[in-house]
């Protein structure tokens, strides 16, 4: 336990100090951390799923608070919670099926010796129990006010009837944890394998002699382009350098090393070049529930240019980048303003920065991200295939459970 605590503290510290950045890296670290949290979590007999959910939630809240801008962290935490809920659900349905059978035989016995009244009630309780475990509490059950606690003692008392059931339960506990860890492992694989999944689709989107524009650097985009190259497609890539961090330069280097025809342009030249471009492909930092995209700064401009010239604007995003939140004031709240020293040299401008002088003073704003509204995006390519921006909410409903949206 203590080592998990310290692991959490260390990761929180890293997130806070911005020592670890980028959605891929943070997502991977988060999911691995959560896996060890789950495996170290001691589970009580009753209500194991709730215990796991609480543990994961507690850690998740810390992680999200440490760096709210890294949306992937929150996404992964919600995914893990979803996995726990799903596994719990499937186990309870399985158990319920067994319980139903058992009850049916019990009912027969009771029916035989005690007569009417009791079985009817028992059936109602069982139905209520099934309802409460199978589904999230519906409005009706809430209104009916059927107390959940009332059902639990009953089931346990009915469980006391047969010794086999308690044994079942302990194995059930172990099974739940096992299944959850299994599910989390799948998630880890999915996150680390999302590049390949996305890159596989490259051939369908990039055609011979096309010109592709990208901005900044994204590993997904790199793999995507290279996959098309490997399939003997020949095309050219324009890379907007992505000031002020100039990650486009790194991408260009990588692309050239892999034998692609690459041209580096300044961000401000995007509008001038867009008429020669067949498709804009960018990697996202996060995809919001409305289909809006948060990407490296400058992306919105590229999207507007693409819209103006009717060039398809394609966003590549692994499923861990799908964020179930709706953007509210994304330019400010989902952004991070970094040090102005990335833009200009402090020493050179130190005489303009003196606020004391009262006269004009220099302010430098250096946002990390840009928000692209959904109407500018033509297509999302995720590891499950291509999707329209308006379909995002549906995907999100598949990946997350509604209870976890607010953590």
């Amino acid at each position: 336990m203590p080592d998990v605590q310290s692991m959490v503290a260390e990761f929180v510290n890293k997130l806070r100090k911005r020592k670890i950045e980028g959605s891929q890296a943070t997502a991977k670290c988060t999911v691995e951390l959560l896996r060890s949290v789950i495996s170290h979590q001691r589970v009580p007999h009753a209500n194991q799923a709730a215990a796991l959910i609480d543990a994961v939630k507690a850690v998740g809240q810390q992680l999200v608070a440490a760096n709210p801008v890294e949306l992937a962290v929150g996404n992964v935490v919600r995914r893990v919670l979803h996995i726990i809920r799903e596994e719990d659900l499937s186990l309870t349905t399985a158990a319920m099926a067994g319980l139903d059978l058992l009850d049916a035989s019990d009912d027969d016995d009771i029916d035989n010796c005690k007569g009417i009244g009791y079985p009817a009630m028992s059936a109602a309780v069982v139905a209520a129990a099934a309802r409460s475990t199978l589904r999230p509490p519906s409005l009706q059950t809430l209104l009916e006010g059927t107390p959940e606690s009332a059902t639990v003692p009953y089931t346990s008392s009915s469980g006391a009837d047969s010794e086999s059931k308690t044994a079942d339960k302990s194995s059930l506990t172990r099974k739940l944890k096992h299944d959850v860890i299994e599910g989390v492992n799948q998630l880890i694989q999915e996150i680390s394998g999302c590049h390949e999944q996305i890159a596989e689709q490259a051939i369908e989107h990039i055609h011979q002699n096309e010109v592709i524009l990208t901005l900044g650097s994204s590993r997904t985009v790199l793999e995507f382009l290279c996959a098309a190259k490997e399939k003997k497609r020949s095309f050219r890539v324009f890379v907007a350098e992505g000031a002020p961090r100039y990650q486009g330069h790194l991408l260009a280097k990588e692309l050239v090393a892999r034998g692609l025809q690459t041209t580096v342009i300044t961000d401000s030249a995007v509008f001038a070049m867009i008429s020669r471009v067949n498709m804009v492909i960018i990697g996202a930092h996060a995809v919001m529930a409305n289909g809006g995209v948060i990407g490296p700064v400058g992306v919105n401009m590229a999207a507007l240019a693409a819209k103006k010239h009717a060039v398809p604007f394609v966003v590549l995003a692994g499923s861990h980048k799908l964020c179930p939140l709706y953007p509210h004031n994304p330019e400010v709240l989902l952004n991070e303003l970094r040090s102005p020293s990335e833009l200009l040299d402090f020493g050179e401008f130190s005489d303009c920065l003196d606020f004391g002088a009262g006269s004009g003073s220099l302010q430098v704003v250096n946002p990390t991200f840009d928000y692209v509204p959904p109407n500018l995006v033509s297509l999302f390519i995720t590891d499950t295939g291509g999707h329209n921006p308006s379909y995002m909410y549906r995907l999100i409903a598949d990946y997350y459970s509604a209870d976890d949206l607010v953590m």
């Binding site: 260390e10 911005r18 020592k19 020493g347 130190s350 606020f355 704003v365």
Partner: protein, 728 residues
């Protein structure tokens, strides 16, 4: 001493071996500035715990050290050590997984030198410092990486045994007007070898010789093929030191200040051939909060995010992160703000603070738990925690400490510093640059004035409680319902107060300095063609002049100097004319001005020449005029110019009515005789003066007979003047 050295060397060798096996990164953090610049606030709380943008300074330093990969920090506490240790215990630093924080207490140390000596003593017993260490003070805000720098230092040390220290510098242009850096410290001149980055010269430009020269040792230039001299560098007070530094401090027990004594000692006295190197940082930030001005500047830099990731919206040391909105406004989520309040750009508002109706807040930092009434104006100020500000107050460029109450309608003028729990009375105006505290100003300057504050906090507490009682009975200096003493400005530093204050330098001060500098510039220009000797003359005159605005005055001084020199060195008239013409062009004067000035300087010369009686003075004047009439004649070709000369003369007579006054007519006559003045000019002057006040007519009356005679002479068409003149 030699033996001691050897011992130190031996220890170092063994440490080297240890270092190889375990390269633990260590730092010494001096949690005491050993200065009095933050008084009176530091009488009650140590400087490193003062909040800067709502986070104690020491947290910035520790967070940065941790981020930079330092594994062990020795926090050296001196004054208020109990408070510091308590704070560290409460905070997360003692239980930090990656950073071991140890505190060292010493109440005897009154300077950084003492602190390091104490460390050395400890060192011989415990050998805590295992190798190279980082030496910083607890008021450093930085985000620079250290690991590479330490590595660099170690490698250099391996190559060159004598490289004991690496000093971090950063480019930061200092103001050409005030000769101080952005941080309010004196302008720094350093000389560096551009190849090896070895520090060759280090000099802080003191205020008292703002136009002084930098002296570089000649041997410096002999031993180094090239020397880079810069004045736009800022010393970050971050040093990577080898253990020798500690032993150096031990050997030289008179070293107190890290820079003034230690660095100077190593550079100038050439102890053991030790060398100091510099490391310039470009993209990262580093600054030390040395005075109130740097408090202001660094706060602004933090708000402008130069210190990223140590910014208010990131939780870097257990602080509660604030939300960053547009225009750089940081606001806690639970701030209660009236809709009519106007919170402007670059402001920070802490948790649990209430902001009333119609408030205007701009460029300010407001701490946690403050309550601000309605129609309050806060501009460029730093309000710490739990401050109560009542309706209608005005606060500009002030620092307001914890627990202060400002009653309705009070005004804090720029540069005010209110210490803890002060109460400012209703409608009271706290004058600019005043420092207010509940504690009385220490009257006697003890020998240990270097010490930041009274040594034990308990004493201060006693003092305080006693004071509160006094305060009840006695009418306060801050209005009838106020509490606190306004401190006298000590050490005659009143002129300098605005330089280190939190308030920006006022416009009029700036204008004054600009003016002074402009004057200096013109001086320099005009002086260039003449000899160097004259420059010093002109300077010495310049320093005691009263009205720097008057260009003509300067010009006159220049001409006077030139004439004086000409007389002394017997320079030819042609050359003097050339020089005065040069001056005329550089000052954009007319030749009438030249005539006036030349004549003035001649007469001044005559007056200054020692004389006993009026007749002797007349003789002096006559001889000078006779000798230099050609020079004067060069400028008095026109009637206007001649009138100017007469006017000037009259002015001079009015200034010294006793000496020159009686001689007015005589000298006027002389000038007429020597053909310097024509009779037309004198007559025109008389006509002009005829309409003047009685007071102005004194000299006109004095020479009435002369003028009368002139008139007659002109009427009589040049009759024999000779006779008349002999009669005179």
């Amino acid at each position: 001493m030699g033996a001691q050295k050897k011992g130190g060397g031996g220890a170092r060798v063994s440490e080297d071996a240890e270092e190889q096996s375990h390269q633990r990164l260590q730092a010494i953090l001096l949690a005491d500035s050993f200065a009095t610049k933050f008084r009176p606030v530091t009488l009650e709380r140590p400087k490193v715990l003062l909040p800067i943008v709502n986070v104690p300074m020491i947290d910035y330093t520790l967070a940065w050290l941790e981020y930079a990969g330092i594994e062990e920090v020795f926090v050296f506490c001196c004054a208020h050590s109990i408070q510091i240790i308590e704070y560290l215990e409460k905070s997360e630093w003692y239980s930090h997984p990656n950073l071991v924080v140890r505190t060292i207490e010493s109440h005897k140390s009154i300077s950084a030198g003492d602190a390091l000596r104490y460390m050395y003593e400890q060192q011989t017993e415990t050998s805590q410092i295992q190798g190279d260490f980082v030496l910083v003070s607890g008021d450093t805000v930085s985000n620079m990486p250290l690991a590479d720098l330490i590595q660099e230092h170690r490698e250099r040390k391996k190559k060159d045994e004598k490289a004991i220290m690496t000093m971090v510098i950063k480019q930061s242009k200092s103001s050409s007007l005030t000769h101080q850096s952005r941080l309010g410290t004196d302008q720094l001149f350093i000389a560096v070898d551009p190849l090896t980055k070895q520090l060759l010269h280090y000099e802080e430009d003191k205020i008292d010789h703002p136009r002084g020269s930098v002296c570089l040792d000649k041997s410096l230039l002999e031993s180094n093929p090239s020397v880079l001299v810069c004045n736009d560098m800022q010393d970050c007070y971050i040093d990577i030191c080898s253990p020798e530094v500690l032993s150096l401090f031990e050997d030289n027990f008179d070293y107190q200040h890290l820079r003034r004594h230690f660095v100077k000692g190593v550079l100038v006295d050439d102890i053991m051939g030790y060398k100091i190197f510099t490391h310039e940082i470009h993209s990262s930030y580093a600054a030390r909060i040395d005075n109130f001005r740097s408090y202001d500047t660094v706060s602004k830099d933090i708000i402008q995010r130069w210190t990223f990731p140590y910014v208010p919206d990131i939780n870097f040391s257990g602080n509660r992160p604030l939300k960053l909105g547009r225009q750089g406004i940081y606001r806690a989520c639970d701030v209660i703000q009236s809709r009519s309040a106007d919170v402007g750009a670059s402001s920070v508002i802490g948790y649990g603070t209430k902001i009333g109706d119609g408030d205007k807040i701009l460029n300010s930092v407001i701490g946690n738990g403050c309550s601000i009434g309605s129609n309050v104006v806060i501009e460029g100020s730093y309000i710490w925690n739990n401050v109560t500000i009542e309706d209608g107050c005005e606060i500009r460029n002030a620092i307001v400490s914890d627990g202060v109450k400002i009653r309705a309608g009070a005004v804090l003028q720029p540069g005010v510093v209110l210490s803890f729990n002060v109460v400012v009375g209703r409608d009271f105006v706290v004058p600019a640059y005043s420092k207010v505290s509940l504690l009385q100003q220490p009257t006697t300057e003890d020998s240990d004035e270097e010490l930041e504050y009274a040594d034990s906090s308990s004493r201060t507490a006693d003092h305080l409680s006693g004071l509160n009682l006094q305060m009840e009975s006695k009418a306060s200096e801050l209005g009838p319902d106020g509490a606190g003493y306004i401190w006298e400005v000590c050490e005659g530093a009143h002129d300098e107060e605005w330089k280190h204050s939190v308030a920006p330098i006022p416009e009029d001060k700036l204008a004054e300095i600009t003016q002074a500098i402009d004057d200096d510039d013109t001086d320099d220009e005009s002086v260039v063609p003449t000899s160097g000797e004259l420059k010093s003359d002109a300077d010495s005159i310049n320093t005691d002049m009263n009205d720097p605005n008057d260009d003509y005055y300067d010009f006159e001084k220049e001409v006077e100097g030139t004439v004086l020199r000409a007389v002394e060195e017997n320079i030819k008239v042609d050359l003097v004319t050339l020089e005065i013409n040069g001056l005329r062009l550089s000052y954009n004067m007319e030749s009438a001005d030249c005539a006036g000035a030349t004549f003035y300087s001649m007469m001044k010369l005559a007056v200054d020449t020692p004389h006993n009686s009026a007749s002797e003075l007349y003789k002096n004047a006559a001889s000078i005029i006779t000798k230099w009439k050609e020079l004067l004649g060069f400028y008095v070709k026109k009637i206007d110019e001649q009138i100017e000369v007469i006017m000037k003369f009259e002015e001079m007579c009015q200034e010294s009515p006793k000496e020159l006054g009686p001689l007015f007519t005589q000298i006027l006559h002389l000038l007429y005789d020597k053909d310097v003045l024509q009779e037309d000019a004198i007559l025109r002057w008389a006509e002009e003066k005829a309409g003047a006040d009685e007071a102005d007519k004194v000299y006109l009356k004095q020479c009435e007979t002369f003028i009368q005679w002139l008139k007659e002479a002109s009427e009589e068409e040049d009759e024999d003047d000779e006779d008349e003149e002999e009669d005179d």
